[in-house]
């Protein structure tokens, strides 16, 4: 029973980074952009957040937190924007650029925690803990459920509104189904694509900052155990629908938390997590989304 309780708690904690990354992926895939780079965007967001959050300032949390979050959003948007820029100006396939940017971000993270951002004690490859004022408020007596989870849910709903109830969301959906017609109709594909990539990166970067402020409180090398990659499976499982991916994120959060417990209790390596993700994608492919991205309903 206790294991089940800690499983549920663990899953809730994992929900926020997974949901933010899945929103990033959902947004991009809906517009027909293959953003495989949520992982890298999350990481640079977290790096930027760490830089801002470990400054020796004495600001109140109410002022500082938004600053940190803005920094992370900008960093994530920048990272996504690179891929978007290369796509719209040089016609470089975004699949390759986002993957390359993932690798660069991972090395950048490693460099940061070994070098400029390493803790003052200089012992372990990790950053100092963030300033106390910045820790996100927690809910409940276990003090692990943080407000970021609520934010993630709110953002899912906001994305839903954007996708199906705004003009720009309509353009994104239309572009994902037939970009030529959108171009012919007189909308600027380049503009939509570029901003979509920025938005996608911003979501992931925001998720990175929330994870930092809410859970880890410091930066280290394996800061993200592949959230950005899992997000692809989650988004597909949720049929690229911003509300359905809440459910699929929760499922994956349980898988993540369960894998962690299994590793501790039964010694099953955490790498099996990747296998689980792959299997989920294959199952989704088999039962659902054949007919190349035509059938995503409202």
């Amino acid at each position: 029973m206790e294991i089940f309780y800690s499983l549920c708690l663990g899953a809730l904690v994992k929900l926020s980074p997974l949901l933010f990354c899945s929103l990033a992926v959902t947004l991009a895939f809906r517009g027909g952009l293959w953003n495989i780079g949520a992982e890298g965007q999350l990481i640079v967001g977290a790096i930027a957040a760490t830089v801002l959050a470990t400054q020796p300032w004495s600001l109140s949390g109410w002022l500082w937190t938004p600053l940190v979050l803005t920094g992370a959003v900008c960093a994530g948007a920048f990272w996504g924007g690179i891929a978007g820029f290369l796509k719209v100006t040089r016609n470089v396939p975004e699949v390759i650029t986002t993957i390359l940017l993932n690798f660069i971000a991972i090395e950048l993270l490693s460099y940061c925690v070994h070098g400029p951002l390493q803790e003052s004690a200089q012992t372990y490859p990790m950053s100092d803990t963030i300033h106390m004022n910045l820790e996100l408020p927690v809910l409940g007596q276990d003090e692990v459920i943080h407000i970021g989870i609520v934010l993630a849910l709110l953002f899912s709903f906001a994305t839903y509104l954007f996708m199906f109830h705004t003009a720009n969301g309509f353009k994104v959906r239309a572009m994902g189904q037939n970009d030529r017609a959108v171009d012919v109709a007189g909308f600027s594909l380049k503009k939509i694509r570029f901003f979509l990539f920025m938005a996608s990166g911003a979501f992931a970067g925001f998720g990175g900052a929330i994870e930092l402020l809410g859970v880890s409180h410091r930066l280290f090398e394996r800061f993200s155990p592949g959230y950005g990659f899992a997000a692809i499976a989650i988004a597909l499982l949720g049929r690229l629908h911003p509300l359905w991916i809440i459910v699929s994120s929760l499922l994956f959060a349980f898988v993540y938390a369960g894998a962690g417990i299994l590793e501790r209790v039964a010694g099953i390596p955490s790498t099996t997590l990747y296998i689980a993700q792959a299997v989920v994608i294959f199952i989704v492919l088999i039962i659902g989304i054949k007919k190349n991205r035509v059938s995503y309903g409202h």
């Binding site: 109830h165 003009a167 309509f170 017609a181 012919v184």
Partner: protein, 486 residues
């Protein structure tokens, strides 16, 4: 009797495409299947070619009953069909394409010089001039088509089916094609020629089977009949819209002026050269020509969507309606609903949203209005537009663009692939608009269409625009200009 088709019926849902059709062909004849769009010509031949299965009836080849599950089966029995979409690989040479389709996998290696020689011989034998080392992408549509036919012959076909082979060709190319057909007839091949052009039947064919609304009207020996008789037999019903020539002076101002425009395509080659064009409000200006002579870029320039290298574009109007040539690719988003396709236009999208949010009620009202006004046959506006028939899809496009209350319209091949009724509907809409002093630029490959509708007519050939004076408005003269001979 090489081919017999007896009592063939085929229905698509509630639509009866073919109703107990009899058809037969003999060795070494050119047999026309004549009818308006939607009469069932293509369906009949697709059945023969194994693309569909007949609901009823039987097919006999050389008195043997056959049944094809796919086109591969038909080809094995010596039936080949040349579609409007060619099946040649543009990155290979003529010889490579021909050799590849005939190689029987014995020796995987080939020598380029040998296959070149072989292709040349094959071409000579069937009366076709070609350079076998040219890549397909360098050839004109007509040349590609003749190579397509040669490919079918090389695969030992006995019956050759051609679906509207002349619709994309200039008059010269048609002549070359007919020459090839006659040579094939000498070589005892059977040619089935799907067309709606009576004149071509008269020029070329031995017999003609006339289809009307899925039924055979009659099979006639062409030499014993006249063009008028043929034409009368295929017309489906009276009361269709007949375009008229207006006797009207150009009124008002020009809506778009191009002065000595030079422009490049996306591959950075110059496709429009020193081109000048002035279109006035209230007149229909046609630009005819074979695709690939700069049509696409001209349209983009007129719509202000392409950067000019040189020259000047002045446009006096704001809202230009645009009917693209390929509605499924350029005009619609098939998986989205009809309703959503109606707002696929910057102006409407703005109209139907407030502060960035979509106003679904306004969209619904707007969609209902358009569906009603342009009589789109559908029960709900939430249906994906891909489920509609071609004619209704075009109505969605036309409806959207005309609802814009455009001050000018650019229409590219607006009736391509439509049945007669839908086509005449489109004409009617365009001319009604024209009556309201809206300028119309019609870019088309269909000469008849241009002649019926235009006030002025241009030919676009290799990026150069030539005006054809009214006294030269005959198919022959315009065709010459379309082929670059004038």
């Amino acid at each position: 009797m090489i081919l017999e088709m007896n009592k063939i019926s085929k229905a698509f849902g509630s639509l009866k495409a073919l109703d107990s059709v009899d058809f037969s062909a003999v060795h070494g004849e050119i047999h026309a299947i004549l009818g308006e769009n939607g009469a069932g010509k293509s369906t009949l031949m697709n059945l023969l070619y194994g693309l569909y299965c007949p609901d009823q009836g039987e097919i006999k080849l050389n008195r043997q009953r056959v049944q094809f599950k796919s086109s591969r089966g038909a080809r094995r029995h010596g039936i080949a069909m040349v579609h409007q979409h060619f099946t040649l690989s543009p990155n290979l040479t003529v010889a490579e394409n021909l050799a590849l389709s005939c190689s029987k996998n014995k020796n995987p290696f080939f020598s380029p010089s040998k296959i070149k020689k072989w292709a040349q011989e094959l071409a000579d034998q069937h009366g076709l001039e070609l350079d076998p080392s040219q890549k397909i992408e360098e050839l004109s549509v007509g040349e590609q088509q003749r190579i397509e036919i040669l490919k079918a012959i090389a695969q030992n076909c006995e019956i050759l089916i051609l679906d509207e082979p002349t619709s994309l060709l200039t008059l010269q190319e048609v002549a070359a094609l007919f020459k090839m057909f006659r040579k094939l007839r000498e070589n005892n091949k059977t040619i089935i020629f799907i067309t709606h052009k009576v004149l071509e039947v008269k020029q070329l064919c031995d017999r003609a089977t006339i289809l009307k609304q899925g039924k055979v009207v009659e099979t006639v020996v062409v030499s014993k009949t006249t063009e008028e008789e043929l034409a009368l037999k295929m017309v489906p019903k009276e009361g269709l819209f007949k375009p008229f020539k207006k006797d009207k002076k150009r009124s008002g101002k020009s809506w778009v002026e191009l002065e000595k425009v030079t422009a490049k395509n996306n591959r950075n080659t110059v496709v429009l050269k020193d081109l000048s064009l002035k279109c006035y409000q209230g007149e229909v200006v046609s630009v005819v020509g074979v695709e690939g002579n700069g049509q696409k870029e001209l349209v983009q320039v007129v719509r202000g969507r392409l950067k000019l290298d040189k020259g000047l574009r002045t446009c006096a109007v704001e809202r230009i309606g645009y009917i693209p040539s390929n509605r499924q690719r350029d005009g619609l988003i098939l998986p989205l609903s009809i309703r959503e396709n109606f707002i696929l236009e910057p102006y409407f999208l703005k109209e139907c949203s407030s502060r960035g949010f979509l106003n679904h009620r306004r969209i619904e009202r707007f969609a209902q209005h358009l569906i009603h006004h342009y009589s789109v046959a559908t029960e709900t506006d939430k249906k994906p537009v891909g489920f509609l028939s071609g004619g209704n899809q075009q109505k969605v496009v036309v409806g959207r663009e005309l609802a814009l209350k455009p001050q000018a319209v650019v229409a590219v091949n607006p009736t391509w692939g439509l049945d007669v009724e839908s086509a005449s509907y489109v004409y009617k809409q365009l001319l009604e608009l024209n009556q309201q002093n809206v300028g119309i630029l019609l870019v088309t490959i269909d000469l008849d269409e241009a002649l019926k509708l235009s006030d002025r007519l241009y030919v676009l050939y290799k990026g150069v625009l030539t005006e054809i004076p009214t006294e030269n408005w005959t198919s022959e003269k315009i065709s010459l200009a379309m082929a670059g001979i004038s």
